[in-house]
């Protein structure tokens, strides 16, 4: 695979860019693989990548019903942070954030990771106490965050109204090394690296059935035929319930719509990510100048990738109060994704009741930031048929055992 560097760009520029090869191959499916991964979103692709890189397993296929990264990975607002309260969450999200720092170099593709800083506003006394506690927990976990004053908030975000009539800004939890990245590039970078290792990335290939033999998973039936597998990893976000049904078990997951939107492009006015969780809205500015805005998830099951209109209205209303300057902007595009919500709002990386079949799901409204850490932990689980320290707390058995990782990481607010 051709490396991307300044010299290559110069040479190709002189040749009118005719020498670039395809970034990844599109092979016909083989009849069998050691590992089949269902879902070519960020988590599926990262799992494949680390299966190869960390465990030397490369006879791998990633099957995708649509196009690569066309699920939530290509629909999210790309906020990356690791300032969680519980230790298991801090461990896996911080692992992911650290891997984002070197991802462009590791994958030789610019994923535009921009550690511009993530600010979570405290707009009630209750929220302020919560963030003070999180800042202390983060200090113990080795995650760099701090609680900052309203004056410092205003300094970082001059356009903010810290004296809002309903919800004045009482401070904020600030993670300076949080930020954003280019979502498509993350999927493309992993796909290219996996293809280089000889793995098969097969798009337009929907899994419609799961077979087992002798009490173990043996194959998947797809719209492109039957494909045998030694091991099977289901990494399909909002569609996890459907795949689990094919495999013969149920998950503590419900699928709901989460929406986002972007404004018309304007001059640079915001160079950090701001989240306002009390009022359910968050905002950042893209390199194109558009304000990228998201809010709360719907409360009912839905697979249509269309969400409720009133949620958009509520989000915009909330942000207009905190950022009066954006009041006259027009919104250009709006879209939805189907997110996989668990009871404790934490993800599941686990073995399943079907031996040889593993799940990685439940990232809900907040899994983009976790992609590299999740892939790392999931590859370990699949390769060894046993979870490593990152994945172990996120097993399915935690629900039976009452061992919740109660983060409310996705409590109606996306991130």
């Amino acid at each position: 695979m051709k490396r991307y560097n300044a010299l290559a760009i110069l040479r190709e520029g002189l040749r009118l860019h005719r020498g670039w090869p395809r970034a990844w191959a599109s092979p016909e499916p083989k009849s069998e693989y050691d590992v089949v991964i269902v879902g070519a979103g960020g988590h599926g692709l990262a799992t494949a990548y680390y299966l190869g890189r960390n465990h030397g397993i490369t006879n791998v296929a990633v099957l995708e019903k649509g196009w690569l990264g066309g699920g939530n990975t290509g629909r999210n607002t790309t906020i990356i942070r690791s300032n969680y309260l519980q230790d298991p969450s801090a461990a896996i999200y911080e692992k992911a954030r650290a891997l984002y720092e070197t991802m462009s170099r590791d994958l030789n593709l610019n994923v535009m990771f921009s550690p511009r800083g993530v600010m979570m506003l405290a707009q009630t006394e209750h929220e302020k106490r919560g963030y003070l506690r999180t800042a202390e927990a983060n200090a113990l976990q080795g995650v760099e965050t701090e609680f900052i004053s309203p004056a410092r908030v205003k300094e970082l975000v001059p356009m903010i109204n810290i004296e809002g009539p309903r919800y004045p800004v009482l401070g904020a939890l600030w993670q300076a090394r949080g930020g954003t990245a280019r979502h498509d590039a993350v999927a493309w970078g992993y796909a290219r690296a996996c293809s280089d290792m000889g793995m098969h990335i097969i798009q337009q290939c929907e899994v419609i059935g799961i077979e087992h033999r002798g009490g173990r998973v043996s194959a998947v039936n797809t719209t492109r035929g039957r494909i045998g597998c030694g091991k099977l990893a289901l990494i399909v976000a909002g569609h996890s319930g459907r795949l689990a049904e094919m495999a013969g078990f149920r998950l503590p997951i419900e699928s709901v719509a989460l929406q986002a939107m972007v404004s018309e492009p304007i001059k640079p006015m915001l160079d950090v990510v701001v989240m306002a969780n009390t009022v359910h809205g968050y905002i950042s500015q893209s390199d194109k100048g558009e304000l990228v805005i998201g809010g709360g998830a719907d409360g009912y099951n839905n697979y249509t990738q269309r969400g409720s209109f009133h949620h958009i209205e509520e989000t915009v209303r909330a942000l207009c109060e905190t950022f009066p300057a954006i009041g006259r902007l027009r919104m250009m595009r709006q879209w939805g994704g189907i997110v996989d919500m668990t009871g404790d709002r934490s993800p599941i990386l686990s073995k399943t009741p079907l031996p040889g079949c593993y799940v990685n799901c439940g990232w809900g409204t907040g899994g983009f930031k976790a992609i590299p850490g999740s892939g790392w932990a999931m590859a370990e689980l699949v390769a060894n048929d046993a979870p490593g320290p990152l994945a172990a707390p996120f097993s399915l058995s935690r629900f039976r055992e009452g061992r919740f990782i109660d983060e409310s990481v996705a409590a109606g607010v996306a991130h």
Partner: protein, 107 residues
């Protein structure tokens, strides 16, 4: 916007008047239940792609709980009925069948 008819007051309420309450007809596991049964009752959900039975509350109206039969793949609403029903009534099943002849049926 989702519009559901409240079976108590007959009002066609839009979503902003209603509060969603998750999967309907869950049976509480009794004191003799196994851990697995209790786990299933507490956490495991059907989450179907297609016909779904779901609890709703007419929160900004009469305040009562009711049940909606809906399609999660199209957002079509088949029927609503009172929360006192322990299973979908026959006319609701018929209304679903009329629209979804290949529906695998209730439970």
């Amino acid at each position: 916007m989702l519009i559901l008819t409240c079976p108590y007051c007959g009002i066609q309420a839009d979503e902003t008047e209603l509060a969603p309450g998750g999967e309907a007809h869950l049976k509480r596991a009794g004191p003799d239940a196994s851990d697995a049964e209790f786990e299933a009752y507490m956490f495991e959900r059907r989450n179907p792609y297609g016909v779904h039975f779901e609890r709703w509350r007419h929160a900004a109206g009469c305040g009562k709980w009711f049940i909606a039969a809906r399609a999660t793949d199209t957002l079509e609403v088949f029927a609503t009925y009172k929360a006192q029903c322990t299973a979908p009534p026959a006319d609701v099943i018929r209304a679903i069948r009329a629209r979804r002849p290949d529906w695998e049926g209730w439970k």
